[in-house]
Symmetry: C2
Subunit: 205 residues, 2 copies
Amino acid sequence: MSGLREKQKADRERRILQAAVTKFRADGYRAVRIEDLAEIAEVSVGTVYNYYQTKGDILIACVAMEVEEVLTAGHHIVCNPPRGVSAALLSLIISYYDHSLEYLSKEMWRTAMALAIEAPGTPNGRRYFELDQRLAAQVTDLVIALQDRGEVRRDLDARALGTLMFNNLNQMFLEFVRDDAMTLKALRDQVAAQTRPIASLIAVS
Amino acid sequence: MSGLREKQKADRERRILQAAVTKFRADGYRAVRIEDLAEIAEVSVGTVYNYYQTKGDILIACVAMEVEEVLTAGHHIVCNPPRGVSAALLSLIISYYDHSLEYLSKEMWRTAMALAIEAPGTPNGRRYFELDQRLAAQVTDLVIALQDRGEVRRDLDARALGTLMFNNLNQMFLEFVRDDAMTLKALRDQVAAQTRPIASLIAVS
DNA sequence: TAAAAAAGTTGAAGTCATTCATCTTTATAG
DNA sequence: CTATAAAGATGAATGACTTCAACTTTTTTA
């Protein structure tokens, strides 16, 4: 039976990540020491570093977990978007925003974004950037789906449009997490106000 | 004579900042220890912390110094912009970019941006954000100047247009500093390609 | 000018992320 | 089943930012 070690490894990694998601949210990324996570996960400090290269790495893993779920939810919307360009786009974007704080706090998002900017060449930075790319690709996919359904003008470059819209929603999300006082509802309202004029521009006349 | 202490203080602060600009550029922000700066500036570690709250604070002070110069150079362009919407806008934007690496390295910019995102509520974060605002305002001022000269359509909202253009040039600058291999020329070319179509859209027919 | 007060400097100590040589657990070979 | 090898866990040690109580220098007061 050679599966015991594998099972123990997977279990330890899961426990560390679980401890991180919970503790980072509760106490704030800064305030949590690796020692705290090790204690909760019932491993030693050294073991945490066997599974994650740095403290920031653990945070990026939390973000990745969240974004994977966001992508899965988004996939369903892209496969079967509501009628109307504006409704379809907003449905996807708001799905992103509504999921974004399920496991992560604003502080965690800020820290993750900062890490990705500070060290773009490290595995961390690349991983965050890759998640960004996949989200941008999903927005593009939605635009293509709407073109296929004849709702968005076919003469427009779907990739350029998708990237533009993603950059915009990403920028608005940055403003959202920068301001602890801003509510999800305010974010939703703002993006809705911005999206409707764009939607009418790109919709088939 | 009560000016001695004042003079010594100003001198110490200047020496610390000078040491930081030089050493951060030469060795990289991470690699430089407060102890190193203290030694170069001929003060103790504790004294550095009397003038700057954190290591990041020193970096933001470096950025502020650079941006003040950029704003001064930009002011001249806004007061007397070259003929033509595209030429005027590019003149300002490229002036920003060309000045940006005079004292700061890409790594310093990345780190400063990361700091500002990570801790938006701290004096540091606010200060960085305020510099951003002043740059955005200057772009808006140029748009207004071009409207006054009858080169840009007067029915357009100068503030919205200025903010949009600043966000865009800022985003492109972020991509520039994220990629150590990207040259200033590549950045210039890219922004030129983007700016020309915008310029023709907003110019008076 | 001398003493007292105010302002500022100092560097050792504290904290926390990270590393690494040692030890323990699991898997394999005889 | 025992011995060897491989994999992984451990926590004390390291290094860097930051703090703070004691010490100096400058200014004010008498």
